[in-house]
């Protein structure tokens, strides 16, 4: 289809925005390209590499922006409102494929066996450091939240106590709402204006990162700082959020930072761990960091490893598992020992995670076989409620992306949610007549309000507390601590509040709110069960609260294996493994029938080119020919510098990988594929001016080493910052030493699932499609594969869009 005449070319803003310190891509979608006036088929950089075979008239490879020929010429940019069926151009792939060029071989020859052993030791040292630092960050968050939230609740409680006697409770309400809103405002401002990628729980982002998508800024030090502060502020601000999810993101950032031995944000290079400055190595450490984060959050080291395995690692390595487990263990142990010292009983080691579900004793809270069908039914309820939660959140998120995209609006929205959360809590407490006698010190901030002296309002234990404490209260308060009405109202209100809160521009997780909703309705369920059966199934409602929490969380996030193990480890009771597994399975099956999991949904709404485990099942009839992008921009083996610079600086085609073909096709008639070179490599070459002519001029010139490429990683300078004089433009550049001489290729006839499998299993970024003469026909990149999705009506194709 050489319909070259009607070429419409769009230019993208350079999506490599992590190369600049400018604002994130969301805010500045530029449209440099024009309508039909754009020169059709104008890519003339590589005249000598024009392949005159059939439909390929010029060569234009791309990774992100495609030159598109349309059957129906569209004179104007086709603008549509944001929807789920888009793939954003903002996201790039990570380079997991090792470029086995000559430099690499030289280095491998130079480094002897012993040096590789020290590399292995360094890996373990890094994992230990990841664990320790993640644990310390978790401690910091926990301690600060505890103190600030304690301060806030004491102030409000004193105020309420004062005004209960004298009248004027509306002032207490105002005080509470204002305190919440102002704390959340600070938290939201830093997220919205400084680092938007720190919003939310960070689990979708880490999932994408481990899948091989480079999310701009996601593993920066700045993100970590904003994330930690943001979490503290949003939990203190009384939102319906938890601090557990963000721990995973924090762990990942810590891992990425330590393994590189430097911080580009701080402009400090410690000159250590230089060997690990590659996407492949960094990805391994990031999965260790995510595991350490889970482990610190829930005190679940095995759960953390499995989380990395289930949610994250698309590319898993057997040796990695043990190292990740090591990092997880270190993390939970660090948290445990530091918190024990903080709580004054050192060596006690009683707080392995940020949230402790508390002890579930077998005697008191054991279950019988007869209860298992009941648990499965709870799983069904959890699945339905989870699906409802996700569906509501889907509409809300869509609305937010479309209409509330300005940072100030986002801040205002967060403040409003905080104020409303306080108001709802206050009204619920005010209206509740459920008074319970104070029993010891289980209630942190007992509010008496209209209860008799010596009693407290039991609605206040649920609303007037940090969500973590409320969860534990629901699990462990003795039977009769809550009346059904209280629990029902609480579930209803908290469901909507949590749903409304998730997706705000604050850093906060959804784990704890889900657990809390589930625990509330689970407890309600337990109470009504013993009521309905006239006490014949007398059981501790705490057990049902736990199952409800598992069901609700499973229904929302749809994790299976890792969540089962996390819950098991958090309760410290292995016998609960079986019912929890059943509950989570049921919840997932039922929930998947309606909508997909919350994290997958958000990944989709962010238009991330995410590759799932397998290609869509009905896609075998598609071949690489239809999937690939074409034409491809190729480079010759010995290329003119001017051409290279022009290709790289062409804003309309932000390609990242270029097939290298034989320099002189006329002699052999075939311009066969010789290798693949990356944009980043070309930029380093240009920066060091590795030109053929210069090599001849000065023989003493230092040879380029692999280290030069690593030093530039991960923020390669943009092409605009490299100055090439007119004379130099005429020089030639020899790529054969630097290109990857054996890129993966597929024939045109390969089916989509086959291509997908190769791409996914090896973590590729570029896959060259060649014909039977080894000539480059097209290029398959992540977005070409991620486009195909199994929708409701069969195979769907997503559109690419500028975001």
């Amino acid at each position: 289809m050489a319909n070259v005449a009607k070429k419409v070319s769009w230019s993208g803003r350079d999506p490599r925005d992590e190369d600049e310190d400018g604002p994130a891509g969301e805010s500045t979608p530029l449209l440099n390209g024009t309508g039909p006036g754009a020169p059709g088929g104008s890519r003339q950089f590589t005249p000598s590499s024009l392949l005159r075979t059939g439909q390929l008239s010029n060569v234009d490879l791309n990774e992100d922006v495609r030159e598109l020929e349309t059957e129906l010429p569209r004179p104007y940019p086709n603008e549509i409102p944001h929807n789920e069926k888009l793939l954003s151009l903002k996201y790039e792939s990570l380079d997991y494929d090792n470029s086995e060029n000559q430099l690499f071989l030289e280095e491998e020859r130079r480094i002897n066996h012993a040096a590789f052993r020290t590399v292995e030791i360094k890996r373990w040292v890094i994992c230990a450091m990841i664990g320790i630092l993640t644990g310390l960050v978790a401690c910091f968050i926990d301690i600060v939240v505890e103190n600030l939230a304690g301060l806030k609740y004491r102030v409000v409680k004193d105020n309420i106590d004062k005004f209960t006697e004298k009248g004027g409770l509306s002032f207490s309400l105002l005080l509470w709402a204002t305190l919440n809103a102002s704390v959340v405002m600070v938290g939201s401002v830093i997220v919205a204006f400084i680092e938007p990628v720190a919003a939310g729980s960070g689990i979708p982002q880490i999932k994408c990162y481990l899948n091989g998508v480079k999310i701009p800024h996601v593993v920066r030090l700045k993100t970590l700082v904003i994330k930690v502060c943001g979490v503290i502020l949003s939990v203190v601000g009384g939102l319906a959020v938890g601090k557990e999810g963000p721990m995973i993101h924090s762990g990942a950032v810590i891992a990425a930072g330590i393994s590189q031995g430097r911080s580009t944000s701080l402009k400090r290079d410690f000159k250590i761990f230089e060997y690990f400055r590659r996407d492949t190595e960094k990805r391994d450490f990031v999965s260790a960091g995510a595991a350490a984060g889970v482990s610190a959050a829930f005190g679940a080291p095995v759960g953390g490893v499995l989380f990395s395995l289930e949610e994250g690692a698309s590319f898993w390595n057997q040796f990695l598992t043990w190292r990740i487990f090591f990092a997880s263990m270190i993390s939970t142990f660090t948290l445990n020992s530091v918190l024990s010292v903080y709580h004054g009983n050192a060596w006690d080691l009683s707080s392995p995670g940020l949230i402790n579900f508390g002890r579930f004793d077998n005697e008191k809270m054991g279950y019988t076989i007869q209860e298992i069908p009941i648990f499965i039914f709870m799983g069904v309820v959890g699945g339905i409620l989870g699906a409802l939660f996700n569906a509501l959140n889907y509409w809300l998120t869509m609305f937010r992306i479309r209409y509330i995209h300005r940072p100030c609006l986002q801040v205002i929205e967060a403040m409003l949610v905080a104020a409303v959360t306080a108001a709802v809590g206050f009204v619920m407490i005010y209206c509740s007549r459920d008074c319970q006698p104070i029993q010891g010190s289980t209630v942190a901030y007992p509010l008496q309000l209209f209860c008799a002296d010596g009693e407290y309002n039991s609605m206040a234990t649920a609303f007037f507390n940090t969500p973590e404490k409320s969860v534990v209260n629901l699990f462990h308060d003795p039977p009769g601590s809550y009346n059904p009405m209280t629990l029902g109202m609480f579930t209803l209100m908290y469901f909507f509040l949590a749903c409304w809160t998730y997706g705000l521009t604050v850093s906060a997780g959804v784990f704890i709110p889900s657990l809390l909703i589930g625990a509330a309705w689970g407890r309600l369920f337990g109470i009504s069960l013993s009521y309905l059966t006239k006490g014949s199934i007398w059981a501790d409602p705490g057990k049902y609260a736990l199952m409800g929490a598992a069901a609700q969380l499973g229904g929302i996030v749809r994790m299976t294996l890792s969540l089962t193990v996390i819950m098991m480890e958090a309760t410290g009771n292995v016998t609960y493994g079986f019912p929890i597994m059943l509950v989570l399975m049921t919840a997932k099956i039922v929930g998947d029938y309606f909508v997909e999991g919350l994290y997958d949904m958000h990944i989709q709404l962010q238009s991330v080119p995410f590759l799932h485990w397998e290609a869509p099942v009905t896609s075998h009839s598609l071949t690489a020919r239809e999937v690939m992008s074409t034409p491809v921009t190729c480079l010759r083996r010995i290329e003119r510098v001017g051409t290279v610079v022009d290709i790289l600086s062409d804003t309309s085609s932000n390609h990242n990988g270029f097939p290298v073909v034989e320099s002189n096709p006329d002699t052999t008639q075939v311009a066969g594929l010789r290798g693949l070179i990356l944009r980043s490599q070309l930029i380093v070459l240009l920066k060091h001016k590795v030109f053929v002519e210069r090599a001849n001029l000065s023989l003493v010139q230092r040879r380029l080493k692999l280290k030069d490429f690593r030093d530039a990683y991960p923020r390669f300078p943009p092409i605009q910052s490299i100055h090439v004089s007119q004379d130099e433009r005429e020089c030639m550049i020899d790529l054969s030493e630097f290109m990857n001489p054996s890129p993966y290729t597929v024939p045109q006839e390969a089916s989509l699932p086959r291509v997908f499998k190769l791409f996914r299993a090896l973590g590729l970024r570029h896959l060259v499609v060649v014909d039977n003469r080894n000539e480059v026909v097209g290029m398959v990149t992540r977005k070409d594969l991620a486009r195909y999705r199994l929708g409701k009506e069969g195979l769907e194709e997503l559109s690419l869009a500028q975001t």
């Binding site: 439909q55 495609r66 409303v420 010891g440 002296d453 010596g454 009905t618 239809e626």
Partner: protein
């Protein structure tokens, strides 16, 4: 809600029951305990004589030394005294005040059995034969039960460090408690004459000061206690004090209905509905005024007009 006739009478009865074991009662109890202990010691030989009578005398194996038997009997007597005292003082709870003498003496007897006393080899035998020579180990179980009860009641909290007597704060509290109960009683007596009026305004008015003082003192004690034990585990006061306060509070706010908090529902509803109204305004205005974010579509260009692509489109429609 009008209390049923005869309710006042009941109430008075309750108060009468409540009153006698005041702080003075504690001192009395100490005396009682000492007496009882002396009596026990005096009565020991008799008991010892009684014991063989319970079993088959001739078949009794000569296992237990007479000295050991004496110790066992002392323990039995002590535990009987203590359990009797605990049960008698169960409602209203006066355990710590009334039974601390018995508890202490029982502790001593148990220690006598367990620990070397005088002739070490012999008493060691005693400990072995009484405490650990059978499966049931009833003496150990009993003593554990009493210890546990004592701990749960948290009696150590209102006794002096050497558990000789009530601590100063407790004495102060019980004083105040008695005072407020007396106050309640006085005012109720005045009212009991005209049963027709069911409100307790007099009580509320007259005893407000005492009650407030009592309440404040209790809260202070609680606060001190919480500070004292950093870990927050044993933040309980001792059961006597807790129970006394509970009873008073219940009388005050349930029976007398004295603490009527001002409820200002109207302003609360106004403020909260104002806050709840804000998001609606916000979302509406951003829906109407904010420019909807548009995405610029980039149509993919690849080789088309293939059968399988038609396939896709068919599936679409």
């Amino acid at each position: 809600m009008a209390p049923p006739p005869g309710f006042h009478l009941l109430l008075l009865l309750l108060l009468v029951l409540l009153l006698p074991p005041g702080p003075a009662a504690g001192l009395q109890a100490l005396g009682e305990a000492a007496e009882m202990a002396a009596g026990l010691r005096a009565g020991l030989p008799e008991l010892e004589l009684e014991l063989p009578g319970l079993e088959l005398p001739e078949l009794e194996p000569p296992e237990l030394e007479p000295e050991c038997r004496r110790l066992l009997a002392a323990f039995a007597e002590g535990s009987a005294a203590l359990s009797g005292c605990l049960a008698r003082r169960a409602r209203p709870v006066r355990l710590c005040q009334a039974c601390r003498g018995q508890y202490r003496s029982l502790l001593g007897r148990y220690r006598d059995i367990a620990r070397a006393l005088g002739n070490s080899s012999e008493s060691h035998n005693c400990a072995k034969s009484i405490l650990t020579s059978d499966r049931l180990q009833i003496v150990v179980t009993l003593s554990e039960f009493f210890n546990e009860t004592w701990e749960t009641a948290n009696c150590a909290n209102c006794l002096k460090n050497n558990s000789e007597g009530l601590s100063n704060s407790t004495v102060e509290f019980l004083d105040l408690f008695n005072k407020s109960l007396t106050c309640f009683e006085h005012n109720l007596q005045g009212q009991a004459v005209d049963v027709s009026s069911n409100n307790y305004t007099d009580v509320c008015k007259n005893c407000n000061g005492t009650y407030k003082m009592l309440n404040d003192l209790y809260n202070n004690l609680q606060k001190l206690n919480r500070h004292g034990s950093e870990s927050g585990h044993s933040a309980h006061l001792c059961i006597d004090v807790e129970d006394a306060m509970n009873i008073t509070r219940k009388l005050w706010s349930r029976t007398f209905n004295c603490s009527v908090p001002c409820s200002d529902t109207v302003p609360v509803i106004a403020v909260s509905s104002f806050i709840l109204f804000l998001p609606v305004v916000f979302y509406l205005s951003s829906f109407l005024h904010s420019k909807q974010k548009k995405r610029i579509l980039i149509l993919p260009k690849r080789i088309q007009s293939n059968a399988s692509l038609v396939n896709i489109q068919e599936k679409y429609s």
